[in-house]
Symmetry: C2
Subunit: 419 residues, 2 copies
């Protein structure tokens, strides 16, 4: 399938852009070649799409279910009992609600950490809706032998599971955290990840308590424990990473891990503020994620960029830190590269993961600096069309099966309330 976008603003100039075989084939002033679909780009700009490097997709069905609570009572009284109801009849619609929201807010790829043995369902939903994802099983044993054995078996199941679209979907292993996972299970996960060449995705250093407890228990920081377990590689995605020592940062950089800032969730749960300026200066690989809908409560990378940029400024007491262009690159190219996709730029040869934004939306007017407008002014209302891997997944703000997904989500939410 080929797509020709005519007369759009592309990298600051009015140009045409041709997409062929999932890639940006050509950008030029006037492309006359025929294409399967021609998009009128007048008053629109082409931008790279977003990659959400840490989320829990199915939790979208918990949006607004419980807020403004202490972490532990929030988890134990509200979230966990609700999640205990999540079976194979819940996850399809819950996942599709998340995917619909991602598309509507301009995200085409995500790094997921969800759920018990339902990766087949999640992969199918991602495939159907045309997105990219790292789909992973959640590994934790709460230091219980039986649970450990079960999780090892689940992990074997994931390894055997066939991938409906290896071009867009990656299977991975999410080790939940050092405070929920035994050393044995961590080491085992690292070995399986190595054997099957699967990326790792880990919650780490989210709260000060996590670090203090880990030091008390192991005499090491969480990063040191993860490293000693063999879990840190250049395809390990470390979510949160709020409380890192200088030595932790050295280990992370030596191994080439990706740090994922989750500013909104960290504020909502009072975890802390990602040390953007310090980590940037140390040369860390940084990506951006929204976390799940229960602690955010949306999946908008546009909103997340603004929180990242503004918190980085106040945290470092320097308004020049975390410029719009830097943060936009983190949310696009940074995320794509972290997932191993050659995308995140509007450039010939790159994967065609693109947005068309509406330059007649008041939030993008005036257009002195489109990237500043995207980071500091925009919201999802500016996104008109979304393309992933050279295919249109949203056009004129409409996703093909949107009405069905919304109807099914409403039914599911009602069902969960009375279950």
């Amino acid at each position: 399938m080929s797509i020709l976008i005519k007369q759009a603003e592309i990298n600051g100039e009015i140009s045409d852009l041709l997409i062929e075989n999932g890639k940006i084939a050509r950008i030029a002033k006037d492309i006359a070649e025929p294409a399967d679909e021609v998009i009128n780009g007048t008053n629109k700009a082409v931008l790279p799409a977003f990659y959400n490097l840490h989320t829990h997709s199915g939790m979208s069905i918990l949006r607004g279910y419980s807020d403004d609570k202490e972490l532990f009572s929030w988890l134990s009284k509200d979230i966990w009992p609700m999640e205990a109801k999540f079976d194979r009849t819940v996850i399809p619609d819950a996942t599709k609600l998340a995917l619909l929201e991602m598309i509507k807010t301009g995200t085409v790829g995500f790094c997921d950490m969800y759920f018990e043995n339902m990766q087949d369902i999640i992969m199918q939903a991602v495939d159907e809706m045309g997105l990219r994802a790292l789909v992973s099983i959640v590994i934790m044993d709460l230091f219980d032998d039986d649970m450990r054995k079960k999780k090892m078996k689940d992990l074997e199941g994931l390894c055997r599971l066939s991938n409906p679209c290896p071009e867009r979907i990656i299977k991975g292993i999410s080790v939940h955290a050092v405070y929920t996972t035994s050393l044995d299970l961590m080491r085992h996960s690292a070995e399986v990840a190595k054997e099957y060449n699967m990326p790792l995705h880990i919650h780490t250093c989210e709260t000060k308590k996590e670090v203090d407890d880990c030091l008390a228990k192991y005499g090491k920081t969480p990063i040191e424990v993860l490293n000693d377990s063999g879990l840190l590689t250049d395809s390990t995605v470390l979510a949160h990473s709020v409380w890192l020592s200088d030595k932790d940062i050295d280990i992370i950089n030596e191994k080439g891990c990706i740090l994922v800032a989750n500013p909104v969730s960290n504020l909502k749960l009072c975890s802390g503020i990602f040390n953007y300026d310090r980590l940037r200066k140390k040369g860390c690989r940084i990506a951006l994620g929204t976390d799940g809908c229960a602690s955010n409560n949306n999946l908008s990378m546009i909103e997340e960029m603004k929180f990242l940029a503004l918190l980085a400024k106040i945290e470092s007491n320097n308004p020049t830190v975390a410029s719009a262009s830097e943060v936009f690159e983190i949310a696009t190219k940074g995320g794509a590269n972290a997932l191993g996709f050659d995308a995140g730029e509007v450039k010939e040869g790159k994967l065609a993961d693109l947005l068309l934004v509406d330059l007649n939306n008041p939030l993008l007017i005036p257009n002195y600096n489109l990237i500043s407008n995207m980071v500091y002014a925009a919201d999802s209302s500016v996104i008109d069309t979304v393309i992933c891997n050279g295919k249109i997944v949203m056009k004129d703000r409409k996703v093909e099966n949107e009405d069905e997904i919304i109807a099914a989500s409403k039914v599911l939410a009602k069902r969960l309330s009375v279950m």
Copy 2:
């Protein structure tokens, strides 16, 4: 004019709502009375609209013009030289761009601080577009005698200026700040405000430097200086108010002033974080504002609510602080009351300043808690219809003269770039 909204979600139930003579006349299960306009409220909810209690409307035309800079170089090298070009040919279109954005993001009233002797133009734009505003002249003299005399004359001009719509528009006086305005001019402004019964709108305690410099110069805090000048009353709106002493808070509460949180601007310029929890516990009147577009860079009260709630949590290290319902009330009823309008609630007898939000927007699904969804999940894409003073100002996401305003703003931005 009467409007009948049929079968919408209103305060948690499906009801009809009748608007007559600018007010909510009736809310009931089935209203059969005829109305000039009937709105189908199926899959929509009726909510109170927002009031932006501190902004500089015309600065919308500077959106994205200069970001990520140190305050002083930002102001002196970029913002002030650009503002120096703002004459009576610039302000009409610049103002309308701001009003259009406010409507699109659900705001029907605002407290403005803009500009030299152009309040007639701003009042006309507010009147034409059907909104509410406190329109004010900016008073400052930079401690220069000639400028003080000019400003006193300007103030006389404002007093004589006729108000095209006293029902929706209030004339007010904005004393810029203690560091830009002499004691004489502050005292004079207080007298004029008292004589003409005009509210006051003042930048105060925005930065620590402002407070330190004021203590060094006057041996008093900015709040003490303002109080001694007679500027603190129960219709005085104090923007920013980040750096307040306990004694300041006592004075503010004794006088009944309104504190306006501007969380986004305070982060972007590294001013500090509004002490929400402390001020709430002290019983302060709190409202919310976006500041101008040059330091935000939008006028979205939805986004501002989320920043307020999340920053209040992290600042107090307590996730239960600044609940969604509390913050929503501040942005609606809190703002309306601060401006003296009996609005901000969906209740019979209140002014009909209302939103219809789209319950089929993924950001509002599931609908466990609509107010949580509005504060933590929504963006402007959820807003379908906006009603101010019983008249529709946006319907089905379209503002009547939107295309003209957008076209004029684009022309103006180009003109300013080459001026």
